[in-house]
């Protein structure tokens, strides 16, 4: 009997430690990935069935509430601007010189035909706020040791009920991520690379997103420059800035 009790206590304490570790890992990941604000320039290469196209943009964001993106190229997209405030989105198109307000549901649509939704791109909520994590094991990815974390949603308003993340156990950045439907079906996969240290934090500057239900080679998102905790003028996050 004593043996059973000891075994149970041992299992419980292991599970507790496991949960603690996973949460700590996630917190450290959040510290790397989330920031008060950021300014970055990026290229997005959409690999479709009929070929590839690359879009470059400059983005400013404050937490998960405010984001502003200006598309710099190609010529067809140049000058297009997006402003996200809370769960609302405005898009300015220079060809029509009009600003269109789109409801929160539009955030779920694909960004310019890519494998990313506006929500994927703009949702910057901390993983620890949304998911409870457990360490499921460890794996080696391209010579880096990783923990495999399984994340299960602890709040209801999340897009993905379950995530699986491979975390570099030295740098605390994700190297691979899989997003699952409630039914357990794999929906999206992303692979992070070119991890660099900026302002004391490790950050992946290349991410390949792939919608696993769709044909194609996915969308490659590359950050060409990024700065954290900058002073961003407040007018950037106003509708007036869209037409400037």
């Amino acid at each position: 009997m004593k043996r059973i009790v000891y075994s149970l206590l041992a299992i419980i304490s292991f599970l507790d430690l496991n949960a603690q570790n996973a949460d700590e890992i996630l917190k450290k990941v959040d510290q790397n990935m989330s920031s008060e604000n950021r300014v970055f320039e990026s290229t997005m290469t959409i690999n479709g069935k009929r070929g590839s196209r690359t879009i470059t943009s400059k983005s400013y964001s404050i937490g998960d509430k405010k984001a502003f993106t200006e598309y710099l190229s190609p010529a067809r997209e140049q000058g297009t601007k997006m402003l996200k405030l809370e769960n609302q989105l405005w898009i300015y198109s220079p060809s029509t010189d009009r600003t269109i307000q789109i409801s929160g549901h539009m955030l779920r649509q694909s960004v310019m035909g890519s494998d990313l939704s506006y929500e994927d791109m703009m949702d910057d909520r901390k993983l620890t706020d949304l998911y409870s994590a457990t360490v499921n094991g460890s794996e080696n990815i391209d010579g880096r040791n990783t923990w495999v974390l399984e994340l299960n949603a602890k709040v209801t308003d999340v897009a993905y009920a379950k995530r699986k993340i491979w975390i570099d156990n030295e740098r605390y950045v994700p190297l691979r991520e899989e997003l699952f439907a409630k039914s357990g079906q794999l929906l999206k996969q992303s692979a992070m690379g070119n991890i660099i240290k900026i302002d004391g934090r490790w950050f992946p500057t290349s991410i390949v997103y792939k919608d696993m239900l769709k044909q194609g080679d996915g969308t490659e998102f590359k950050i060409t420059s990024i700065k954290f905790n900058q002073v961003i003028p407040e007018y950037i996050f106003t509708k007036a800035a869209l037409k400037k």
Binding site: S103, H105, M106, R108, S110, A153, T156, D157, V158, A159, Y160, A161, L179, A181, K182, S183, Q185, L187, D211, L213, K214, Q215, G216
Partner: protein, 392 residues
């Protein structure tokens, strides 16, 4: 008056070929107007019947947030089935439909769709929902032929469908196409997947909820709006088809009015020529005691009689032609998928009594006016001069 008709008839027949040319051209107008308008009447009737059979029954109740032209309204356009509808649903006089947004992946392509949940045992609409009452190892689904063609889908195909539940969380499952139906109503076909409502309620985490209720006849109209549900009468739901047919009718009128104008122009010319050449005759009528008004009336009747003769001639060849046309129909070479609203591939014209009477009155009145117009000159004529045949 009787004499005037007799005289007019004799004069017309006496004019020979000139009269018959006018009559034949005018009779073409008769037949073409009736045939063209018959197509629109047939289209209107067919579209409304098809819409009633496939989609709207005797009317619908919509959730107050539902907007069929705004897919983004769907996430807020659902509510539990109200208690007052439950008896109607149990009796089969009402069908609840839950609508959500989703995405299918036929052959690895991403295709946004509306997922519509409906009772498999309903018999109010023509949708073959009995094919949803089956076990196939996936969610059974029925789709329209246009949807199947656009996505290269066949009966028995399995494909992945992705949707979001009420909290916005993604979910995905396999569906199996158990039936492909053919309909002229694109609003139940294009970019839509029909599955059992219980499955959809469970998938979307909206138990016992619906977006739209379709009812069998007009009895429920008396209730009016109720709670969160807005009454959409049959007339309201088909008003867009009516508007569209009105627009088409206006466009069509341009074509047949050209033909009618040509015929009327010929009659006008004939009248002008008659008055010019028959001045002695006019003078004689006045000398015999006819008032100027009676002479004008005589010439007007003579012109208008062209329309009566045209109606007779038109009937001789038009009735068999229109009957054949009504049986054979006309294929416009467009599908409802291209048009976006109910339209049959072959349209069968319908000739109502009002259409025939209305067309006859229209042509008769137009002919009378163009006959009267040049005849007014007679009133200004000097009878003595006219009798002498002097040109005035």
């Amino acid at each position: 008056m009787k004499l005037a008709f007799k005289l007019a008839f004799k004069n017309l027949i006496g004019a020979g070929l000139r009269t018959w040319l006018n009559v034949i051209v005018l009779s073409f107008s008769f037949v073409i107007i009736i045939a063209a308008k018959g197509i629109l009447v047939g289209w209107d009737r067919q579209a409304k019947n098809d819409m009633a059979d496939w989609e709207i029954g005797g009317g619908q109740y919509w959730h107050r947030n539902y907007d069929p032209y705004d897919a983004f309204s769907l996430s807020d356009a659902h509510a539990p089935v109200p208690p007052e509808f439950k008896e109607e649903i149990a009796n089969g006089n009402m069908v609840p439909v839950l609508i959500t947004q989703g995405t299918i992946y036929p052959g690895g392509r991403m295709q946004p769709v509306l997922i519509k949940g409906i009772h498999p045992k309903q018999n109010l609409l023509k949708l073959p929902t009995q094919n949803l009452d089956t076990t196939v190892g996936a969610i059974p689904a029925i789709i329209g032929a246009n949807m199947a063609r656009a996505n290269k889908l066949q009966t028995g195909d399995y494909l992945t469908i992705r949707w979001r539940d009420a909290n916005g969380t993604f979910d995905a499952a396999e569906i199996c196409i158990t039936q492909i139906f053919t309909t002229n109503v694109p609003t139940v076909d294009l970019a839509q997947v029909w599955i059992p409502i219980e499955n959809l309620q469970s998938m979307a985490m909206l138990p016992n909820e619906a977006t739209v209720f379709t009812f069998r006849d007009g009895n429920l109209i008396r209730r009016g709006d109720t709670g969160e549900w807005k009454l959409m009468t049959f007339e309201t739901l088909v008003s867009e088809v009516e508007e569209m047919i009105k627009t088409k009718s206006a466009g069509q009128a341009i074509f047949y009015s050209i033909l009618l104008i040509l015929a009327l122009l010929a009659i006008f010319d004939t009248q002008v020529l008659s008055i010019f050449r028959r001045q002695k005759e006019i003078g004689t009528y006045v000398a015999l005691g006819y008032t100027r008004g009676q002479v004008v009336g005589l010439f007007t009747i003579e012109g208008a009689m062209n329309a009566i003769l045209a109606a007779v001639v038109g009937a001789i060849y038009g009735i068999p032609f229109l009957m054949w046309f009504a049986k054979k129909g006309i294929s416009l070479g467009v599908s409802s998928a291209e048009y976006g609203f109910a339209i049959a591939e072959t349209m069968y014209p319908v000739y109502s009594g009002s259409l025939i009477v209305g067309t006859t009155i229209l042509v008769l009145m137009a002919t009378t006016i163009v006959s009267y117009w040049p005849s007014r000159k007679i009133a200004k004529m000097n009878p003595t001069e006219a009798l002498r045949g002097k040109i005035q």
